[in-house]
Amino acid sequence: MPIEKIVIVGGGVAAWLAALALARKTACAITVQDTGGIDDSLGEPFAVETTLPSISKLHDLLGLDNEQVVRETGSSYALGRALSNWTATAGAAFHPFGEVGASLGPVGFQHLVARLRGEGQSVSFANHSLGALCAQSGRFAPPPAGTRSVLSTMEYGLHLNVAEYRDYLKREATALGVVTLPGSPTELMMDAQGLIATLAVDTGEIIAGDLFLDCSGQARLLSSKLPQSGFEDWSEYLPCSHVRTSASMSSAPPPLYAHIDAHENGWQRFASTQTLLEEVVVSQTADPDGYMFTSGRIEKLWAGNCIAIGGAAAIIDPLASTQLHFVGMAIARLLKLFPHERSAPVEAAEYNRQTIEELENARDFAVLHYKCNGRKGAAFWDECRACALPERLAHKIALYKSCGRTALHDEESFEAWDWISVFDALGIRPRGYDNMANGMPKDRIEAHLAQVRNVMLKAVGSLPTQHEYLQSRKAVA
């Protein structure tokens, strides 16, 4: 029996992303069971969600246009993260999206920098990153597609106004025939195969479906009611579990980055959109006005005919802005493995295998920040440095320290340059580098770096400020 009806539980961003994607790509009837309440469907109830560049791929899949999303929801563009106070010197560094610099022949840019640094020069990655240079000067326009301009290499994410974004998705999905019903499931009725047959909802309704998506955030309204609904807790690697958010109206031109500042017991983040400025404080310390989360994942992400997506599936410390990215990846993966019957064990096993790889790799990326912090003498940070390390991350760190290379695996959310940028931001300098960089004359490397920077600066200079760009698009609309 083919899948004809999909029931999505949860009324937040995660639910509406899934609803819109499935409405576009399948012929199924789709119901969103709106459970109301605060929207923590992504994991934490942020007012501003900071995304990775993969948001563009997700929007392509959904048939949405980034520019229109930004305009309709008052959101803004983002080119990376500023990290301050993570090291002993209390300085700031920038983690831009996308690649940094340009290789010279077969030699990667980081090795060229290492060579010059080895000779006592002070060279910064950020000075050779298009994203960092744009973010510094506040200039931005979406890169032109299909040209040879250096601007076409720029990668960007978004700072989304979550409430407006959700409403926008809901409007789009509703226009495609997605039905919304109120109420939370109280009981699952299982069939003889052990699959969910129907949901009893607190409004008294009985909802039938072939495939169920749990997008209810940490409440896990479906997953927690299934047999064998274990949770793998990652707090030993990611110690923070409390978050307090405060958002205020702001019409100041938003910065093109999120600012992530480490403090005594954790870190805080400032992120802005066209209309909001949100401060998020993340720590290990309980906070009566805050929200609690546990980093980790449920053991079976796709169990029977139920798939958990978003915060219901996994939460990783919000440091790396991965929660919306995971929803996008989950949707794309579900579409690739779309089940042909209610029971699809082969597809489910593969889905779970890939997703777990992805979650663990991204977890490691977040863990890196804690593990390699340089705030010596502060109890919380000392403990983080002493904390256990997943073996795969231990290898990544050791290999980078040794020769400036990154060991990447399948299902990485972060590319080589993301890892390198963060290693560098945390003050880690590799002991060795590509020997081929030694084979090149020093002045050739210096000239290359100067040229890279000049080309980038010239391109940045040709761009409007983000504010000017957004204003010009408003005029168009």
Partner: protein, 501 residues
């Protein structure tokens, strides 16, 4: 950086394809004004001409060296290869081509083969190779290098080469010697190791000469003189899954038309290769000694040739598997010293190439950091296992009646391969894992060729109306046929561009 003094003295033990490929690549990529590369080989030691057929990434290797394609093909008396024809692998008398290059075009983000599967299941039995540029050209014995216009049907053609591996080694030797690689003629008498840590310090030649080095590359073939005889790196035996352990090779006279593909024909135990070159055809039988005597192998091989023999059949013995540590201490194994996979998918030269690029990417300093070595070994093991799985697939899915083949069909297979088969069998799902060499096209071709036709297709194909889908597929097929008609024959192309002297 005082503690990271780079390696400046490289010794390559053994010539042949692996040794000279390494010498050529290193001499191209390392600073030769301050680096010494010595290659030690003896004219008395024969070269095992590892597979004379290649796969498309060889083009990247040659491009990295800056080699002109026409000159290379002419010098190696090579020909072009658009895929491999598998004859009798599913059942006697049934043939399929495993072509290079992609099938059709994806529609709305859904892989092409799902639309083909949907058509099949609706009763339109058009062979999938009608939708592959290389396959269509191969069927008509045609070839033309893609012109670079990405919008043209021709650009979907992908190819590799057949060539004389001995001539390739000679060609690369010239290249490497021009760049300063020093060739030292003679046999290695013994290998000197440092007392402190067992690292190799020098090769002592039979004439008494001592060749010192910092990094040693073992290209001594099956002998594995450095990596195994000296360093005892261990061998992982895969003959449970790939039981063939002998081969017999013989060249025959060239035939017409010159086929632009390799042929692999299943025999009652093992299989026979056929590799067309400009000046001769390479043939060989790969078999398992548990099921076939050498005499019977010789008579099967010589009884199944399509032209006169140019030499006596030459025997070869091997155990399929890989060296446990491809990089151990200061020694890296390239070629047969690193392991053996039968040439069923022409991967031998590719594995050498991949080993060289990884070595260049992780090129050591004199400290020989263990993490970098671990990374090299991790990536190498992964690549060998992925290719191993792809080879096992061919054997596992056969329906032949002979005891050898029945055993292969019944064997347990690695979990990684079982997962791929299960995913494909259901709805034609394919995922490419971690830098996998073989793409969706390769797996699709062989799985369908071996009779594993999925029972369903991706339900997301339903987003394209049937009439539109049929129209698009018909257009794709037609554009490939028309493009093939515009191409010269394989023979004409070679005559015009790259005829060997």
């Amino acid at each position: 950086m005082s503690d990271a003094e780079p390696v400046r003295n490289v010794v390559i033990a053994g010539g042949g394809t692996a040794g000279w490929m390494a010498a050529a690549a290193l001499s191209r990529m390392l600073p030769m004004d301050i680096t010494r590369i010595t290659l030690v080989e003896s004219d008395e030691i024969g070269i095992v001409g590892v597979g004379e057929a290649t796969i498309p990434p060889i083009k990247t290797f040659n491009a990295m060296l800056g080699i002109d394609e026409n000159e290379f093909v002419a010098r190696t008396k090579g020909s072009f290869k658009l895929g491999i024809e598998f004859d009798g692998w599913l059942r006697e008398g049934e043939t399929y081509l495993h072509p290079f290059g992609a099938y059709g075009q994806d529609i709305n983000g859904v892989k092409f083969h799902h639309f083909w599967l949907k058509l099949q299941q609706q009763g339109f039995a058009v062979p999938i190779n009608e939708f592959n540029m290389s396959a269509v050209a191969a069927r008509h014995f045609r070839f033309a290098k893609p012109n670079g216009n990405a919008a043209s049907a021709e650009s979907a053609l992908d190819y590799a080469y057949h060539f004389d591996a001995g001539l390739y080694a000679r060609f690369l030797r010239e290249y490497a010697e021009q760049r300063g690689v020093v060739r030292h003629e003679g046999k290695i008498a013994r290998v000197e190791q440092r007392d402190s840590d067992g690292y190799i310090s020098a090769l002592v030649m039979e004439d008494g000469a001592q060749i010192d080095g910092e990094l040693f590359i073992d290209c001594t073939g099956f002998r594995a003189l450095l990596i195994e005889q000296t360093l005892k790196s261990g061998y992982e035996d895969w003959s449970y899954w790939l039981p063939c352990n002998r081969a017999m090779a013989v060249p025959t006279a060239r035939t017409e038309p010159l086929l632009p593909y390799t042929r692999s024909t299943a025999r009652k135990t093992g299989w026979q290769w056929r590799i067309p070159l400009q000046h001769r055809t390479g043939n060989g039988l790969v078999y398992c000694s548990d099921y076939l005597t050498d005499d019977d192998a010789a008579s099967i091989l010589t009884g199944n040739l399509d032209a006169e023999m140019l030499a006596d059949p030459r025997p070869l013995r091997f155990v399929t598997g890989r060296r446990k540590l491809a990089w151990n201490k200061n020694c890296v194994a390239l070629g047969l010293s690193g392991g053996f996979l039968e040439p069923l998918e022409s991967t031998s030269i590719h594995l050498i190439q991949a080993g060289i690029s990884k070595l260049l990417a992780l090129f050591p300093d004199k400290n020989f950091n263990a993490r970098e070595r671990d990374e090299y070994n991790r990536l190498t093991a992964l690549q060998w296992e992925q290719i191993r799985d792809f080879l096992i697939l061919h054997y596992k899915l056969n329906e032949r009646p002979e005891p050898f083949w029945q055993r292969c069909a019944a064997m347990d297979i690695p979990e990684s391969l079982q997962r791929k088969i299960d995913l494909f069998a259901g709805r034609g799902r394919l995922f490419r894992y971690e830098d996998e060499l073989f793409s969706d096209t390769n797996w699709t071709a062989v799985m369908i060729g071996q009779g594993l036709v999925p029972s369903g297709y991706d339900p997301l194909t339903d987003s394209v109306p049937d009439a539109r889908m049929k129209q698009m597929l018909a257009q794709m097929g037609q554009s490939f046929r028309q493009a093939a008609d515009r191409m010269p024959s394989h023979t004409e192309y070679i005559t015009q561009h790259c005829l060997g002297a």
